[in-house]
């Protein structure tokens, strides 16, 4: 079977000017077109165009997404067969098929892409693999992120592409690039979507959807099969990205999700690795040994304790305000921190210790002189000037809620007033609060609408829970060290060499 360019363009043109069509008709046309191209692909009818470098010039990915994607897919397949390589040179960055793939992923039509989920995902994965193979993960990271946000701006359904993105960002050390996706709440898993209400009328894929849930179910192909390991790795990698950006509170939240994962038997290595980081990040953010999240089973909590002994001991020394012991613990377990890729975090814990010592002093004293602070809070012999510089940077970065007071006499020591924050004009606090509340309000709105959708699903069928349980084919615990599973050897203290 052969097909001409005129036939291909005519078939794709049926999707143009769709605003005049009803949703039903548009849906039918896209489905027909997808079936047509799948047939062409299966009968090798597109092979005549396999080496036609200009064929895709006849298609606009924003209007002819289905046609563009299938033709590109066919050309990639033929390049693979020709070179007997899984990643032929044409697919590598700057290759002619790479350029086409980038053009598609930046411009595809998000509605048409819903009908070709599997092909869309495979192209995204190919781009990610090619970028990594060329040691240019940065190229893949941006492309994958923008494609994800183009397809589903809410990113509320967890997919295998989420994991691909965070891995690429960690490898490329482009941490902020992941934030537009990481900062969005994940509310659903594809395996749990669209089965309970399968008897109910499914909305058309091309209709305006309130939630991406409607088009990102398991059958959409937009995600590959997921296991519990993927889920854990995503949140561990996400936590590491937040750590690199020193967003400790968010890092703690992500690590807490991994730590509190329900288990049937033993802990996975990923969970243990997350718990180690959880302890260190807890010290950095809260200045104390944070217990595992309340959802963690007592059985798991006990196992964590026994598997992370050096970390617990370190945290206890921190809490007891014992700088000598803290230093001794840091030195004694150097190889542990190094093996776990936590050396940078531990170094930051040492710095945070002094901040929290000052905060603790503030619970006893209303004010302290720099001379007192240099003696009581700072471990090394420090001049008053240096002590003021250290303390002032803590106050100015809002890490320490206090105010400094120079005295009239030049010889007198500078005073740190630890109870002075309440005297600040309320206006600036209120403004900060306003911004925070506004952000929280937005998050709540998103969560509430997704919660309503979940309630709706749960209400449709008594079998939903059974179904959901069947679909949760969580893989068992891993035997390989988690950092190797994640495939990263990242020292999260990106500022380590600047201390």
């Amino acid at each position: 079977m052969t097909v001409s360019l005129a036939e291909l363009t005519a078939a794709s043109a049926r999707l143009h000017n769709h605003t005049d069509l009803s949703d039903e008709l548009y849906d039918d046309r896209i489905r027909d077109l997808v079936a047509y191209f799948r047939h062409l692909l299966s009968t090798d009818a597109l092979s005549t165009f396999a080496r036609d470098d200009f064929l895709l010039d006849n298609f606009d990915p924003s209007a002819d997404s289905v046609a563009f994607l299938f033709i590109l897919r066919s050309q990639i397949q033929k390049a693979k067969e020709r070179t007997s390589e899984n990643l032929p040179g044409d697919v590598w960055p700057t290759g002619k098929l790479w350029i086409r793939a980038v053009h598609f992923l930046k411009n595809f039509d998000r509605v048409q892409a819903r009908y070709v989920g599997q092909e869309w995902r495979q192209l995204v994965e190919l781009a990610g693999r090619a970028a990594q193979a060329a040691s240019k993960p940065l190229l893949g990271a941006r492309l994958v992120r923008d494609a994800m946000l183009r397809l589903d701006p809410s990113c509320a359904v967890f997919t295998s592409t989420h994991l691909l993105l965070v891995r690429l960002c960690l490898r490329a050390r482009t941490y902020a690039c992941a934030l537009p996706v990481l900062d969005r709440h994940i509310c659903y898993f594809p395996a749990l979507v669209g089965r309970a209400d399968s008897k109910a009328a499914q909305p058309l894929l091309c209709s305006e959807q309130e939630s991406s849930l409607a088009f990102m179910g398991d059958a959409s192909g937009l995600s590959s099969k997921l296991s519990s390991k993927d889920y854990l790795q995503y949140f561990l990698c996400g936590g590491m990205i937040y750590m690199a950006l020193k967003q400790w509170r968010k890092a703690l939240h992500f690590l807490g999700i991994v730590v509190s994962m329900p288990i049937a038997g033993s802990l996975s290595m990923i969970m243990v690795e997350a718990y180690k980081k959880w302890i260190l990040v807890g010290l950095l953010e809260k200045g104390k040994l944070c217990p595992p999240p309340s959802l963690t089973s007592p059985h798991a909590a006990k196992m964590y304790q026994s598997l992370t002994r050096p970390y617990i001991t370190l945290a206890q020394a921190f809490e007891r305000d014992d700088v000598g012991r803290l230093k001794a613990e840091v030195n004694a377990a150097e190889h542990v921190w190094s093996t776990d890729n936590n050396t940078g975090l531990v170094a930051q814990v040492m710095n945070a210790f002094y901040k929290h010592t000052v905060i603790r002093l503030g619970k006893t004293f209303a004010a302290l002189t720099m001379a007192d602070l240099a003696e009581q809070a700072l471990p090394w012999p420090t001049t008053e000037e240096d002590a003021e510089s250290i303390i002032a940077s803590l106050v100015m970065s809002s890490d320490l809620g206090a105010r400094l007071l120079h005295s009239q006499k030049r010889t007198s020591s500078t005073m740190l007033r630890l109870s002075a924050v309440s005297h600040l004009p309320r206006l600036s606090h209120e403004m900060e609060m306003q911004v925070q509340l506004r952000n929280e309000g937005r998050s709540l709105k998103t969560l509430m609408s997704n919660l309503e959708q979940s309630n709706h699903q749960l209400g449709l069928s008594d079998e939903y829970i059974d179904n959901a349980q069947k679909n949760q084919l969580w893989a068992g615990s891993g035997e390989i060290p988690a950092s190797e599973q994640v495939g990263l050897d990242m020292d999260e203290d990106i500022m380590g060499d600047l201390h």
Binding site: A244, L424, S428, V435, L444, L498
Partner: protein
């Protein structure tokens, strides 16, 4: 988005433009892929253009207050460029001073280091940004401060400030601080930072309503 290809001329246009820091960041982010590809083939690289790009992008990270990500950028740069290019060396020194909160050193690097002519507009913008940010931080961190220390934070003449130079004192009183001539101390007044959204109060009301209404 139809951006022209990355070139020295395009970078010059951007660094001298009136684009906001976030717009500059967005635009230069798009160009990072091109810069990344430009380093792919041997002999295909224009070191001057790459130096200009990475230096500009670095300063724009600082202008958008992304110090950890600026550090990550220095790790993404081609190693040879980072270790040999004078402009990028300046960036590394600046990053170190910022990380160690050495204000005087930051101003020294910004003012005295040999920055390329094309980068000067961005460097000046960052100096002004850093000064404003520090002023806001000092205003809410000190109840009373000696003029010389305040001058050090803002990159002003410390010796003149110590002698009570009226022109320097006036810079502080102009932003609401009080000068206690007898005690020779400046009394800072916290500077409220503007809320970014004029409708924030309504949104807070909505958020509070949502919090209150869901409990029942």
């Amino acid at each position: 988005m139809g951006l022209p290809p990355l070139s020295t001329a395009q970078l010059d246009n951007l660094t001298t433009s009136n684009l906001s820091p976030s717009q500059l960041f967005e635009t230069l982010s798009h160009y990072e892929s091109e810069a990344c590809l430009a380093t792919a083939g041997p002999g295909s690289t224009d070191p001057h253009m790459l130096s200009s790009f990475y230096s500009s992008f670095f300063i724009v990270h600082l202008l958008t207050d992304q110090v950890p990500e600026a550090r990550a950028l220095t790790q993404r740069m081609p190693e040879t460029l980072r270790s040999q290019d004078p402009s990028l060396q300046n960036c590394m020194t600046l990053l170190r001073a910022l990380w160690q909160t050495q204000h005087a050193q930051v101003y020294r690097i910004l003012r005295d280091s040999p920055w390329p002519e094309t980068l000067q507009p961005l460097v000046r913008r960052y100096e002004s940004f850093f000064q404003d940010k520090t002023l806001i931080a000092v205003s809410s961190s000190y109840e009373a401060i000696r003029p010389a220390v305040a001058a050090m934070y803002l990159g002003l003449d410390e010796q003149a400030a110590e002698k009570g130079d009226p022109s320097i004192i006036q810079k502080f009183t102009a932003v609401g601080w009080t000068w206690d001539a007898e005690a020779e101390l400046l009394l800072p007044k916290p500077i409220p930072t503007a809320a970014t959204d004029s409708q924030s109060s309504n949104r807070i009301h909505e958020a509070m309503g949502m919090l209150g209404g869901r409990g029942s």
